[in-house]
């Protein structure tokens, strides 16, 4: 099985790179050089063992689960609300050329705005609870889904459309059997990007002002110069992202099973 072997080799190399990085970090922050001090001060750079120990402790004591749960809830809400809005408005604009043309500059301007500047306003409007973070995530997810749905409806193959009409579909049936699947295929192939942005919205919102969540923990640790806490928070965030992303990959493989492999692969690479 040459494929199995190359996969094993790849995995080994990937683990080696990780271990090498950790080892370098460990040596630079602990091995004494010239007069007993390490090259990098652990106060500013922590050490890998401290970070792992702290992460283990947080999971073992159960402190972190509540924060993970809150960040997950914000991410899911931001994704669902943003995607629903993007699908509805995307469809509406794609079927009404005049509306799309009139709104075009405003959509572009709104999308060009860096969303971080909205965070304080959302905190004012929605308070320091989860909804200000959800709102921030929604502004990010909405545009990705909106543009994909718009494109998906516009780019329905003319011959598929003509064929569907000749088979006797009325407008409602065309929407259900042709436009919606075409638009959804674009949405699904941008799933990695949009779910990622939902998480970014949640964490950035928490970071800028909140009482719970992974972003809050990182901000708290930074506030007291607890570098180990910051790195530990980043580690947990990274693990969280990998778990969410693998669920997205599973969902994508299921939802886009009618697509040829190559297309799915390219779309994933773009995301």
């Amino acid at each position: 099985m040459p494929q199995g072997r190359s996969r094993l080799l790849l995995l080994t190399l990937q683990i080696l790179v990780g271990l090498g990085g950790l080892l370098a970090w460990h040596l630079l922050t602990t091995a004494p050089v010239f007069g007993g001090k390490p090259l990098l001060d652990p106060f500013f750079f922590s050490t890998p063992l401290d970070v792992l120990a702290r992460t283990y402790k947080d999971f073992a004591s159960g402190v972190v689960w509540r924060h993970l749960g809150i960040t997950l809830l914000e991410t899911v809400l931001a994704f669902v609300i943003g995607a629903a809005g993007g699908i509805v408005i995307g469809f509406w604009f794609a079927r009404r050329a005049l509306l799309a043309a009139v709104m075009d500059p405003y959509v572009k301007a709104a999308n060009a705005l860096p969303r971080v500047v909205l965070a304080p306003i959302f905190a004012l409007w929605f308070g320091l609870g989860i909804w200000s973070k959800v709102a921030l995530g929604v502004t990010l997810v909405f545009f990705i889904v909106f543009f994909n749905v718009y494109q998906g409806v516009k780019e329905v193959s003319p011959s598929v459309l003509a064929n569907a009409r000749m088979l006797g579909m009325n407008d409602r049936q065309l929407l259900r059997h042709v436009y919606l699947p075409s638009a959804m295929s674009w949405v699904f192939s941008s799933l990695h990007t949009s779910v990622g942005f939902a998480l970014v919205g949640a964490v950035v919102g928490e970071y800028l002002g909140s009482a719970a969540g992974l972003g809050y923990r990182i901000a708290q640790a930074e506030g007291v110069f607890d570098v180990t806490g910051v790195f530990s928070g980043m580690l947990i965030l990274a693990m969280f992202v990998i778990v969410i992303d693998s669920f997205v990959s599973l969902a994508e493989a299921h939802l886009l099973k009618w697509r040829p492999r190559e297309t799915t692969a390219t779309a994933t690479a773009q995301g």
Partner: protein, 279 residues
């Protein structure tokens, strides 16, 4: 050939053809503001049960005529009748097999074939059962749950054929349906088509650039002139009996003579089309 049944006295009183194009003209506005006249003065009738092929040089507006017959496009002048009644909007009596891939890629073969019945309100299980039987008639009984990208080009055409025929259209429009296929697959598809067609002869209007295919399949071969303002310049009856063996009939004297006669006219148009082509 048609028996006057008491259920359809009107049809018996005025025998109408499946399709009648009367003085059809199609013009598009060009960017310069002038009108580009693609086809002009086209008269063509296809009787019920008749298989008519259109041949002509590329760009002569063959596909335009099919789109008009299907009601996907309205003529600038002239009239298109389906079974005597003027076509406004889509021609509900026509089935259309497109040149390019027109299956819904997100539906499996059986879903693609059943959809026409389902949107007409037939219960899903019934539609699926009928779709399965049509797919096995086109030789795809083992591929019901494949998505279009998992099928070969020839198999996709078979699904397309089943998708159209399951609705029993009175008129079948085909736009170079086997164009992208290789020669062997084309011959097989032609035989399959004649086989299915002979079961309940529908009217067929078949556009092709392949003269041999046209003669082997059709009752009548119609030649269009090179565009612009292309029109029908000749109408040949094919003196071959049915049922036909497509590969064998090529060697019959009737085939060879018809081929010679049509090619003389067609060649002139093809050369003209080349000479006029820009660049």
């Amino acid at each position: 050939m048609t028996l006057a049944s008491p259920a359809a006295p009107a049809a018996a009183a005025a025998p109408s053809s499946a399709l009648a194009l009367e003085k059809i003209k199609v013009a598009f506005p060009e960017r310069s503001g002038q009108l580009f006249v693609a086809v002009e003065g086209v008269n063509l009738t296809v009787a019920d049960g008749e298989f008519v092929a259109i041949v002509g040089p590329t760009g002569c507006g063959k596909s335009t005529l099919l789109n008009i017959a299907a009601g996907l496009m309205a003529p600038s002048a002239g009239l298109c009748r389906a079974a005597g009644a003027p076509v406004t909007g889509l021609n509900r009596q026509a089935g259309y097999l497109f040149q390019s891939d027109a299956l819904m890629p997100w539906k499996t073969a059986i879903e693609n074939v059943a959809i026409g019945l389902e949107v007409r309100g037939r219960p899903r299980s019934e539609a699926r059962a009928e779709a399965a039987s049509w797919l096995s008639r086109v030789g795809l009984g083992a591929f019901l749950d494949r998505y279009p990208h998992q099928l070969s080009g020839g198999q996709r055409k078979r699904v397309g054929l089943a998708q159209v025929l399951i609705l029993h259209p009175r008129l079948l429009l085909m736009d170079e349906p086997f164009g992208p296929l290789d020669a062997q697959t084309r011959a097989l598809m032609g035989e399959l088509l004649l086989d299915l067609w002979s079961a309940d002869r529908k009217a067929v209007l078949f556009v092709t650039h392949d003269l041999e295919e046209a003669i082997a399949l059709a009752d009548r071969v119609v030649i269009m002139s090179a565009g612009p303002r292309s029109t029908i310049i000749a109408d040949h009856k094919v003196p071959l009996s049915r049922p036909r063996d497509i590969t064998e009939s090529r060697h019959l004297p009737g085939f060879i003579e018809t081929h010679k006669a049509i090619w003389q006219q067609l060649k002139r148009e093809v050369l003209r089309a080349y000479a006029d082509a820009p660049g």
